[in-house]
C-alpha cells in the first residue's frame, strides 16, 4: 500500500473538470486507488465519488493505492494536485 498527503491548491477546488481529469488518469492504473478526506474514502475511478468529495481550495487529501502499480499511481495523481490541475 502506498499513501501520500496532498493539498488542493487551485482556487476553484475539485469541480467537474478536475474531477474528470482525476478519474481519467486513475482509470489507467490497475491498482485500487482511494482519495481520503476527513476519514471519508472514495474510489478515485468514480466521477460521482470524486465530485461529491467537494474538496475546496486548501483541503488536504490522502491518496492511497493498493496494487501492482500503486507507486506510480500515487505519484501521478499527486502531480495533478501539485500542478493545481493545470489551472494555475
Amino acid at each position: 500500500m502506498t499513501e501520500k498527503l496532498v493539498k488542493v491548491i487551485n482556487r476553484s477546488g475539485i469541480h467537474t473538470r478536475p474531477a474528470a481529469t482525476i478519474v481519467k488518469l486513475a482509470s489507467k492504473f490497475k491498482s485500487e486507488i482511494y482519495l481520503i478526506r476527513d476519514k471519508f474514502a472514495i474510489n478515485s475511478k468514480s466521477i460521482i465519488g470524486v465530485m461529491t468529495l467537494a474538496a475546496e481550495q486548501g483541503s488536504e487529501i490522502i491518496i492511497r493505492a493498493d496494487g501492482p502499480d500503486e507507486q506510480e499511481a500515487v505519484e501521478e495523481i499527486a502531480k495533478l494536485f501539485e500542478n493545481g490541475f493545470g489551472e494555475i
Binding site: R11, V23, S46, I47, I48, E87
Partner: protein, 595 residues
C-alpha cells in the same frame, strides 16, 4: 391560454394568433419552421421496488449490459462529432460519459439486479440515489449536475426499452421533448431535424447555446408541450418570438410561409453584401466589427462579413460559470476565440462587473452601484483577479491578434496602474518561458464624461479608444438607463453626448489612435450617418446586425454625413437634433428613428 399572454408576443399578427392554439415559451434560437412534430414522451413512472422472479435475473442482467454498451457507444459517437465545436461542449459530453461508465454506479445497479429487482427499478433506484448527493451539495455547480444525471438515466431507460427513435424518422421533423441533453441535440442535428421545442431549459443552458451554434430554431420553456402536442401534428415554431402554433388555420400558415420566404430572400440579398467592403458612396472606408458574447458568435460574425471583433465581453464567462474562472479556463476561452478569428483582430474587454452585473465577490450593497466600484475600479481593487485575467490574455496573444480593452476608465492613473500590472505579468511569463505578444495593444473604453474630457492625455497612454455609448449617455445626462421614469431624458443623440464623442475622435486622431463605437448606438439605424460624419473609424455591433449596418454604410455619402454631423454639433436642443436626423433618415428611406 389567456389572450393577453398572446398579445405580449405577437405584433401585427396577434389578432389572428389569438384565435389559434398558441403555446408560449422562451425564444432560445432564432428561425421559423413549419413541420411535423415528433413528441418524445417522458418515461412513465417506474417504481424502484419492482421485483422479478429468480429465473429472470440473468436475463435482466443481460438486458442491462446490452443497453449500457449501446449507450456508451452512442455517447462516444456524439463526442466524436462535437470535437470541432469547442472545448466546453466536449467537456460536458466527456463528463456525461464518465458518469455513465462510473464503476460505483455500474456495480450498484448490477448488485441491485442480482438481488432480484427489475432492471428498470435498479436503474431508477441507483441513479436517484446518486442524484441525491448532488442535489444536497452546497456547490451550485454540483447541484446542476443532478439534472445531467437525470438525463443520463432517462437515456438509459429509453435505450433499454429500445425506444431510441430511429434517426431516419426525425429527418425534417420538429422534436418536442421535456428536456434534451446536449448529446441528443448533436445527434438530432445530424439526423436532420428542423427545430426543437422543450418544456424546460434556460436561455443560457448548454442545450440552448448548442442549438444556437448549430442553427437549430428552438423554443424552450413551453409548459406541457409533450402533453398538448401529439406526434404527427403540424406545428409552427417561431424562434424569434418564442411561440409554437398548433393546428394553424390556413390564414396564419400563409403569414408564416410569407415570413419564411421573406427571411430567406433577405438573407440571400444581404449575403451578397458580406463579401463587399463597407464603403460610403464617395469612397470612405469604415471597419465593421462584431461584438462577441459566446464562442458561437465568432462563426456567425464571419459568415456575416465581420472584419474583426470589436468587443468580446469577457464578464460573460464569469456570469456563466457563476464564479471567477481560473487562468486556464480563461486562457482556453480567449485562445479559442482568437484562433477561430485569426487572422482577424479580437478586442477583449477585461471583466466589466458591478452596477447591473453582479457576481459573488463584489461588495454587496452599494448605495449607487452605477457610480460605484465597477469596471476598472473593481479590477484594480482585486489585483488577484485582474492579474489572473491579464496573464490569461497575454498567454492567448501568441498569434498577435488580441487587443486588451479597459472598461470604465475615468483617470490616467487607472491606465498607468494597469500598465504596471501588465508589465509584472509579462515579466512573470518571461521567467516561466511562456511566449506572448510583447506589444499587445491596450485600449481604454470611453464611457465617462471624465475620460472624454481628458481624452487628449489618455490618447498618449493607450493604443486605441472604444466609446461605450450607453454609459457615456447615462453619465453625461445623469439619467439611469434602466429607469423608465427618465427614459425620455436618456438619449444617445443629445448634443452633449455627440460633442463628447466629437472631442474624443479629435483627440484620438491627433495622436494617431483609432476610435470605435461598440455600444447600442453603433447598431442604431439613425446613428450610422452621424457616427460616420463624426469620423469614427470602426463600428462594432451584434453579429445579426452586421449586414444591415454594412448595407446602410454603402448607401451613405460621407460628405453629406459630415455636413449633418456638423449641423447637429452646433445645435443646443436635442429636439432640433431629432428633426435633422429625421430629415436625414427620410432621405435614405430608413427605418423609424425612435426605438
Amino acid at each position: 391560454m389567456a389572450p393577453d399572454e398572446v398579445i405580449k408576443y405577437g405584433k401585427a399578427d396577434y389578432r389572428i394568433l389569438k384565435e389559434q392554439f398558441v403555446l408560449k415559451g422562451i425564444p432560445s434560437s432564432v428561425g421559423i419552421v413549419i413541420g411535423k412534430a415528433i413528441v418524445l414522451q417522458p418515461e412513465t413512472l417506474i417504481s424502484p421496488q419492482t421485483k422479478v422472479p429468480d429465473e429472470e435475473i440473468s436475463n435482466e442482467l443481460l438486458k442491462f449490459e446490452k443497453a449500457h454498451t449501446n449507450l456508451v457507444h452512442q455517447f462516444m459517437q456524439s463526442l466524436h462529432k462535437v470535437r470541432s465545436l469547442g472545448s466546453n461542449i466536449v467537456a460536458i459530453l466527456e463528463t456525461n460519459l464518465l458518469i455513465l461508465t462510473d464503476p460505483l454506479l455500474y456495480d450498484a445497479i448490477i448488485d441491485k439486479i442480482k438481488s432480484g429487482f427489475s432492471v428498470e427499478s435498479a436503474i431508477v433506484a441507483e441513479f436517484d440515489n446518486q442524484r441525491k448527493f448532488f442535489l444536497n451539495a452546497t456547490d451550485a455547480l454540483l447541484r446542476e449536475r443532478a439534472n445531467e444525471i437525470d438525463n443520463i438515466k432517462r437515456k438509459l431507460l429509453a435505450t433499454l426499452k429500445d425506444q431510441c427513435i430511429d434517426f431516419v424518422d426525425v429527418q425534417n421533423a420538429i422534436i418536442v421533448a421535456q428536456n434534451l441533453s446536449t448529446t441528443d441535440i448533436v445527434n438530432f442535428k445530424e439526423a436532420g431535424i428542423l427545430a426543437i421545442v422543450t418544456e424546460i431549459g434556460g436561455i443560457t443552458s448548454h442545450s440552448s447555446i448548442l442549438a444556437r451554434s448549430l442553427d437549430i430554431p428552438a423554443v424552450i420553456g413551453v409548459h406541457n408541450a409533450t402533453d398538448i402536442i401529439k406526434t404527427g401534428d403540424e406545428i409552427i415554431v417561431d424562434g424569434f418570438s418564442g411561440i409554437v402554433v398548433l393546428k394553424a388555420k390556413e390564414e396564419i400558415r400563409q403569414i408564416y410561409v410569407t415570413k419564411i420566404n421573406a427571411l430567406e430572400e433577405h438573407k440571400k440579398s444581404l449575403g451578397v453584401l458580406a463579401k463587399l467592403p463597407a464603403e460610403t458612396t464617395d469612397g470612405k472606408r469604415i471597419s465593421i466589427l462584431a461584438n462577441v458574447n459566446f464562442l458561437d458568435d465568432v462563426r456567425l460574425s464571419e459568415i456575416n462579413g465581420a472584419e474583426g471583433f470589436g468587443l468580446v465581453r469577457s464578464e460573460n464567462l464569469v456570469m456563466e460559470l457563476k464564479e471567477f474562472p481560473d487562468e486556464r479556463t480563461q486562457f482556453n476561452w480567449y485562445s479559442e476565440i482568437c484562433e477561430r478569428a485569426y487572422p482577424k483582430i479580437v478586442t477583449i474587454r477585461t471583466f466589466d462587473l458591478g452596477s447591473d452585473k453582479y457576481v459573488e465577490g463584489l461588495p454587496i450593497k452599494e448605495g449607487n452601484p452605477a457610480l460605484g466600484l465597477r469596471g476598472i475600479r473593481f479590477l484594480l481593487s482585486r489585483k488577484d483577479i485582474f492579474k489572473t485575467q491579464l496573464r490569461a490574455l497575454l498567454r492567448a496573444s501568441i498569434n498577435k491578434n488580441l487587443k486588451i480593452m479597459l472598461p470604465m476608465i475615468s483617470s490616467l492613473h487607472e491606465v498607468e496602474q494597469t500598465r504596471q500590472l501588465l508589465e509584472i505579468c509579462k515579466q512573470e511569463l518571461r521567467n516561466e518561458g511562456v511566449i506572448f505578444d510583447n506589444n499587445i495593444p491596450l485600449g481604454a473604453m470611453i464611457e465617462t464624461p471624465a475620460a472624454a474630457l481628458i481624452s487628449d492625455g489618455l490618447a498618449k497612454a493607450v493604443d486605441f479608444f472604444s466609446i461605450g455609448t450607453n454609459d457615456l449617455t447615462q453619465y453625461t445626462l445623469a439619467a439611469d438607463r434602466n429607469n423608465e421614469l427618465v427614459s425620455d431624458i436618456f438619449d444617445d443623440f443629445h448634443p452633449a453626448v455627440l460633442r463628447l464623442i466629437d472631442l474624443v475622435v479629435k483627440s484620438a486622431h491627433k495622436n494617431g489612435v483609432t476610435v470605435s463605437v461598440c455600444g447600442e448606438l453603433a447598431g442604431h439605424s439613425a446613428a450610422t450617418e452621424i457616427l460616420i460624419g463624426l469620423d469614427i473609424d470602426e463600428l462594432s455591433v451584434a453579429p445579426s446586425l452586421l449586414l444591415e449596418l454594412k448595407n446602410r454604410v454603402r448607401n451613405l455619402n460621407y460628405s453629406d454625413a459630415k455636413h449633418i454631423a456638423e449641423e447637429i454639433l452646433n445645435s443646443n436642443d436635442y429636439y432640433e437634433v431629432r428633426k435633422k436626423l429625421e430629415q436625414a433618415i427620410g432621405r435614405h428611406n430608413l427605418v423609424e428613428i425612435s426605438q
